[in-house]
């Protein structure tokens, strides 16, 4: 069951709905948001995912990070 999340990419003008799977890594979550916003924001290689004001380890899954439906996460230059 996908988990709907509010994703905010630094440089973008609007938040986007990202449907994540529990097993998605933080890194793949960042990639999903960058792809979704690519019309407006050029892709960057080095980014960080920030969740609850903390930078997340890119290797862990969103289940391990504790993401819940309709939470906010940010992808910022890292």
């Amino acid at each position: 069951m996908p988990i709907p999340l509010y994703g905010f990419l630094q440089g973008d003008t609007v938040g986007l709905l990202i449907l994540a799977e529990e097993g998605d890594t933080i890194q793949s979550l960042a990639r999903k948001l960058q792809d979704a916003a690519s019309l407006r924001v050029a892709s960057r290689d080095r980014v960080q995912v920030v969740y609850n004001d903390k930078a997340m380890d890119p290797a862990i899954t969103i289940a391990q990070a504790g993401f819940q439906a309709l939470d906010r996460f940010d992808v910022i230059s890292g």
């Binding site: 509010y6 440089g11 609007v14 986007l16 407006r40 439906a69 309709l70 906010r72």
Partner: protein, 498 residues
């Protein structure tokens, strides 16, 4: 026979003491509004126009004839065809947003005409209701026939009857402002904040824009409407003055809440119109300059006059003058098929002008337009490529204003998540959350478009969402006004200078 000066004051101030019912039952608080006060507190309610019904009808007839004459002279389809493509879309925005919103104003004014607390107030609200009928009929009369020129003008009638995301936001706003409101909040929110604060002056600005754009029909229409607004907006100040004597904190709350809610709608309608949909050489000012000169200064003077303070979020609002409508416009451009009018990409000359007018955050906005332009260059111009330069993933919306989560700056979006009574909400900004928390029962059960999609009430695939839920068709959904075919986007031939 009494002279006008003798009978008009008698007719306008026709209040009496009730013998068979209590005053609280004739004017219950739920309809008349808070604070409930005996009529003695309202008996000095007064406004300066003091119009009789006969004078009202004579004046309105003259104004309608003037609009009709201009329409006959310059309002034909062949005249409209000569207007610049971006401006034509400014007309479509207003053709949809204006008429039925004005009709909700009829309902609000009729509530004031029955439940206003003094007969002079009720008389003026009756004229206000007639004004708002006129403001419904005129734009429908002028705009809807243009459907023969362009099917997007069908949204003059259709807009508020759809679940289009902007329609959902506009209904959320106008339903609360006008349709479901008690008399006191309606007249403070609508006459004192919306009309005195925004639209009365907005219409002066719009008339000036229309004049510069050679659209004399629209110029005449908004000028004619503005003269009505200037009159019936006079209901608000004496209501504010009386309530200030008894519950100033409540007035401050209403002003703070409604200035913010008005700003959200106004910045989109007028911000788009001035900074993007008016040709560069015809822009008399930027949206920010217009706000500072026409709205902000006047609003602060009015607040001071009534002993009110600046809204607590004033610094946030001042910052948004530089960025909010730009964030929304870029977002809406990239989801233009979800709307009923067409958009333009600002070219190098427009972006230079925008940088000059909005230096604070323009670097970040410019990067967005550079990326959009790059996509058009990659796929090439043409209607067939529209969806290659369009968002595919669902955008998100605020649980209060129902508009996209586009507040803050590209560097830092100000959206905030709140858990309230076990349910998760998201707001675009601190003021939207503040309004929600002040009256959660009023707002909590409403679902934004995204939550309707997630709950299965609305389709989750973009084509179905557009056609089945937003009532758009390939003919009417928004496009790039030039299909990406901009001179400045064409590659320059290497030997062109030779």
């Amino acid at each position: 026979m009494l002279s006008r000066e003798e009978w008009l004051p008698l007719a306008r101030k026709l209040d009496w003491d009730y013998s068979y019912v209590r005053e609280e039952d004739v004017f219950p608080e739920v309809m008349s509004g808070h604070p409930w006060l005996p009529h003695a507190e309202w008996k000095d309610w007064e406004e300066s126009f003091k119009t009789s019904y006969r004078e009202y009808v004579d004046n309105q007839y003259e104004k309608d004839m003037a609009v009709q004459a201009v329409r006959d002279a310059v309002g034909r389809i062949e005249n409209v065809q000569k207007l610049a493509a971006p401006w034509l879309n400014c007309l479509k925005v207003h053709a949809a947003a204006l008429p039925l919103a004005e009709f909700t104003g009829v309902i609000g004014n009729l509530r004031g005409a029955r439940f206003g607390r003094d007969s002079a107030w009720r008389t003026m609200a009756t004229f206000g209701a007639l004004d708002e009928y006129r403001h419904t009929q005129i734009p429908l009369l002028l705009f809807h026939p243009l459907v023969r020129l362009d099917s997007q003008f069908d949204w003059a009638h259709k807009f508020y009857h759809t679940n289009n995301w902007f329609s959902v936001a506009a209904r959320h706003f106008f339903d609360e402002l006008t349709v479901g409101q008690n008399a006191i909040e309606f007249h403070i929110a609508t006459n004192f904040v919306f009309e005195t604060g925004f639209t009365n002056l907005q219409f002066v600005g719009l008339a000036s824009l229309a004049h510069e754009s050679n659209d004399h029909m629209f110029e005449r229409m908004v000028t004619s409407i503005q003269t009505d607004e200037a009159r019936h907006a006079q209901i608000g100040p004496p209501v504010v003055a009386t309530v200030m004597k008894h519950d100033p904190e409540y007035v401050q709350y209403l002003v703070d809440k409604w200035f913010w809610r008005n700003w959200r709608m106004f910045s989109i309608l007028t911000g788009f119109s001035i900074d993007y949909l008016t040709a560069l050489e015809q822009r008399p000012y930027s949206f920010k300059e217009f706000m500072e000169e026409w709205i902000i200064d006047q609003f602060l003077r009015t607040l001071d006059e009534y002993g009110l303070k600046k809204p607590w979020y004033w610094d946030i609002l001042m910052d948004e003058l530089d960025i909010y409508h730009h964030m929304i416009y870029a977002s809406a451009y990239s989801y233009r098929a979800t709307l009923w009018f067409n958009f333009v990409v600002p070219g190098p000359a427009e972006r230079k002008w925008l940088r000059q007018k909005y230096p604070k955050y323009w670097d970040d906005m410019d990067a967005v337009w550079e990326q959009v332009s790059k996509r058009w260059r990659t796929v090439g111009p043409g209607a067939a490529n529209e969806f290659a330069v369009h968002g595919a993933v669902m955008p998100t919306f605020c649980d209060l204003c129902q508009l996209p989560l586009s507040a803050g700056t590209p560097r830092k979006n100000t959206a905030r998540v709140l858990v309230h009574e076990g349910r998760k909400y998201i707001f675009c900004s601190e003021p939207c959350q503040w309004i929600f928390l002040h009256e959660p029962a009023r707002y909590a059960s409403h679902k934004d478009v995204l939550k309707r999609v997630l709950s299965g009430e609305a389709p989750n695939q973009l084509p179905n969402l557009l056609t089945e839920y937003f009532n758009l068709t390939p003919d009417t959904w928004g496009k790039d006004a030039y299909s990406g075919n901009y001179d400045w986007l064409r590659p320059v031939a290497k030997n062109s200078a030779a």
